[in-house]
Amino acid sequence: MLRVENVAVRFGGVQAVKDMSLECPPGRVTGLIGPNGAGKTTLFNVITGLQKPESGRVLLDDRDLTRLPTQRRARAGLARTFQRLEVFGSLTVRENVLLAAELKRGWSRKGDVPVAVADLLLARVGLSALADSQAGALPTGSARLLELARALATQPSVLLLDEPGSGLSELESRALGDLLLSLAAEGMSVLLVEHDVELVMRVCEHVYVLDFGELLCEGPPTHVQADTRVQAAYLGAELVTA
């Protein structure tokens, strides 16, 4: 289980995240929503070690990760995708996933065969047909799915997804939702940042709403949806009609 305790981040004079805590238990998809600039991606960066918090702790199964560098956290079972893509553009689609699988296996000869893992995961996210294309040439939606496959190849216990649904068609988005639900059913903790409200409502059991770096409210999706503060934060009542 991933736990974030009282994390605060400051950029110069701006308090990007204020005293934020959340829990992300295994076997469920947890949502993290909020208007742009609310601090969602910053929180992801803190969890994965790309951003040092001013205060607070990040715990994975009661192990304190706060001082570990990014790659050690990844080896501890944390994987993520990026809102601004970070695919390995000069490698092929297959090589992207293969590399992650190879790193998981390390130099030993034990464990799953990386090539098999890569092909399986590409099939699972629906990218098999593009396996030999250069990853840098993928359209945004497919590149997001590639990042997802790459993250899964590290066999994480916690998966952080930063807007995986943007750039996807309605059909693809529905398939993504199915995939997330099945990952949770396999026992993974999934933390989902997403603007596609329909997707959030469908897959999340619990939603945290962030605004101006602060927790606005939390609870089951329907509860959050009905919250007037949330509606105000989104400049109107769009959420209600979802």
């Binding site: 790309l50 560098p69 970070e86 695919v87 553009g89 769009e238 009609t241």
Partner: protein, 634 residues
């Protein structure tokens, strides 16, 4: 005591010039995001222009003002408009090649316009006038320098704090996209940054020129002191940069006055390197950056079977060529193939890993010396690989915590120091006789040796392609593409980078040893820093991501001197001019010549047939809120 004081004052004056040039460097870098390796060359051209104006009869002050306030800034604007603007979000090896290309181009131009055989002197300001302060004689010229170093930073400070444009510049430095949203134009600011940077380079060049000889290369390379000062200011902090420049000037002056180490020929040139490395050691580590660069289209990696077939065909063709080549051409072809091995060392480092070494020929030289000292046995060949690999490891180590640019700067300072202190050192090789180098493994027949070098090239090429197909190769490419992505899948970055840098230095050493074996005797001018730059540019221009690219680059390099014979006096400038132009044009086609050909012939990886590949989802508030809306309606 008075000596100490005099040395300190002299050092401070030089330090003022370093501070000025370094401020210009930082200003350009922070506003445009591109590190200008040609900064010194711009100062050099300004110094020549100043000399030219005075030679035409213009009063000294008028020439000074015209050069510093008009001509040099215009140069900066032209460079920004023509070359820099379209680089956009290009990767380090591309931006670096373009500005290094500009450096070589400007040197070649200066050497062509202002004949190098004529000695030129520029008089200092107020010749002969001086004051004595506390027993130290200070010339009026030195006072002018000090005044400039006080006035210019103050003016800069006022401009950046108070003027509207200055504030816009600071905004762009802080956050490009945000500044653009609030109405500041990053491209105007970039142009202004280049104009001011070039102006400062010109100011430093003109102030410096009466102290040193008016020589294109000397003046250009003096800027390495400026780099060292700028690194002290972490390439972004102006006050720290100025302090770094002053400190460096004083240290250098004191070292020249007091330090007498017999094995260091030129204390002067080793100080900036030492200073730079110290600055690197104390620099705070760079955070992993999120937000990646636009990747180039990568050439297809040949499979194992394809590699062996091509290698066999190449060996057969080369074998036939070895037998039928006219005797007079054997040596130059051997030399070309040895150069090809040195260039091959750039493929894993620059081509796959996007790390750029600017002193690959220095590593080649170390390999050559190592073999010359241990003999041509297999042991000697091993030394030729291991010695530069070990040195490379030491150089790369302090830069691993930092951005890739710092590695390039470290290699530049290292190559510069080695030019003056290692290769021209009496205990390494005698200046008059050079250093005899044995033929490795005792292969004395020139044709047999040619085939040996070709076989070595082929073996190394097979090895590099095998490396690329391995997990290490994937790690390397991934690292160049997205360090943040690498870290989030659990990959340690430093060991991979260090390993490849050492491997590449070792391979360059092997090439250097084989080249030395062909030449029989190497001299201290055989491994100059500027030639390292030329070779790097040729490799990138032809295509540093492919074996065929570097092979063609090496053969082209070998061909040019043959042409020179037919071109007469202009000939000597042909290579740097061509290379410079090629590198500068890289801004337009970043894949190099071989890459372009591959693109035309579908040798590059196929793109999926979709209308707009690679669009960054640039979110701003408006579109995001709209997405919420559409999500709600759907």
């Amino acid at each position: 005591m008075s000596t100490l004081l005099a040395l300190t004052v002299a050092g401070l004056v030089t330090g003022c010039i370093y501070a000025l040039t370094a401020s210009g460097l930082v200003l350009t870098y922070t506003t445009s995001g591109i590190f200008n390796f040609a900064h010194g060359a711009i100062g050099m051209v300004a110094a020549f222009l100043d000399w030219q104006l005075i030679a035409w009869g213009m009063p000294t002050l008028a020439a000074f003002l015209l050069t510093v306030l008009v001509l040099a800034p215009l140069m900066g604007v032209a460079v920004e408009r023509i070359m820099i603007r379209r680089l956009g979000n290009a990767s380090l090896e591309v931006t670096l090649t373009v500005t290094v290309g500009l450096l070589l181009l400007l040197i070649a131009l200066a050497d062509t316009v202002w004949d190098t055989r004529t000695a030129r002197r520029v008089q200092p300001f107020f010749v002969g006038q001086q004051v004595t302060v506390g027993g130290v004689v200070i010339s009026y010229h030195q006072l002018v320098v000090i005044a400039a170093a006080i006035v210019v930073p103050l003016a800069l400070w006022a401009f950046l704090r108070l003027a509207r444009t200055g504030v816009a510049m600071r905004a762009v430095v802080d956050d490009r996209e945000l500044a653009a949203l609030t109405g500041a134009s990053p491209s105007t600011v970039g142009m202004l940054g280049w104009a001011m940077g070039a102006g400062l380079a010109g100011l430093a060049g003109v102030l410096l020129v009466s102290q040193v000889e008016l020589n294109a290369i000397t003046l250009t390379l003096l800027v390495i002191n400026g780099y060292a000062a700028a690194v002290m200011g972490r390439l972004s902090n102006l006050p720290l940069t100025i302090a770094g420049g002053l400190l460096l000037g004083v240290l250098q002056s004191l070292a020249i006055g007091y330090v007498t180490i017999s094995w260091l020929n030129q204390v002067q040139t080793s100080i900036p390197m030492v200073f730079l490395f110290l600055a690197l050691l104390i620099a705070p580590p760079t955070r992993l950056r999120v937000g990646q660069l636009a990747p180039l289209l990568a050439p297809k990696v040949p499979g194992a079977r394809q590699t062996y077939r091509a290698a066999a065909a190449f060996l057969v063709a080369a074998g036939v060529l070895t037998l039928v080549l006219p005797s007079g051409r054997v040596d130059s072809f051997t030399h070309g193939m040895a150069i090809a091995i040195i260039l091959l060392s750039l493929v894993p480092m620059v081509g796959y890993g996007s790390m750029v070494s600017l002193c690959q020929l220095t590593f080649a030289g170390i390999g050559c010396v190592a073999m010359a000292k241990t003999g041509g046995s297999p042991l000697g060949l091993l030394a030729a690989v291991l010695a530069p690999a070990a040195v490379g490891l030491l150089i790369a180590l302090p830069t691993m915590r930092l951005r890739g640019l710092y590695l390039s700067l470290a290699t530049l300072a290292f190559g510069y120091a080695m030019d003056d202190n290692f290769f021209s050192n009496g205990s390494v090789m005698t200046q008059t006789l050079g250093l005899p180098v044995p033929r490795p493994l005792g292969i004395d027949n020139p044709r047999a040796y040619l085939f040996f070098v070709i076989a070595a090239f082929t073996a190394c090429a097979i090895g590099i392609l095998a490396l690329r197909r391995s997990t290490l190769g994937r790690r390397l490419v991934a690292l160049g593409d997205s360090p943040a992505g690498c870290a989030t899948i659990g990959m340690g970055i430093r060991s991979t980078k260090l390993g490849i840098f050492a491997l590449s230095a070792g391979l360059a050493g092997l090439g250097g040893a084989l080249m030395g074996g062909q030449e029989g005797v190497v001299g201290y001018t055989d491994f100059p820093l500027l030639l390292s730059l030329t070779l790097l540019l040729m490799a990138v221009v032809w295509g540093v991501r492919t074996i065929s690219g570097v092979l063609l680059a090496a053969l082209f390099f070998e061909l040019i001197p043959l042409l020179n014979g037919h071109l007469g006096a202009v000939g000597n400038s042909v290579l740097p001019l061509l290379v410079g132009l090629g590198a500068v044009s890289l801004g337009k086609n970043q894949n190099g010549i071989v890459g372009t050909v591959l693109q035309r012939t579908n040798g590059l990886r196929k793109l999926p047939a979709l209308p707009h590949p690679r669009q960054h989802p640039d979110h701003d508030d408006a579109t995001d809120r709209e997405e919420v809306l559409t999500g709600a309606q759907g």
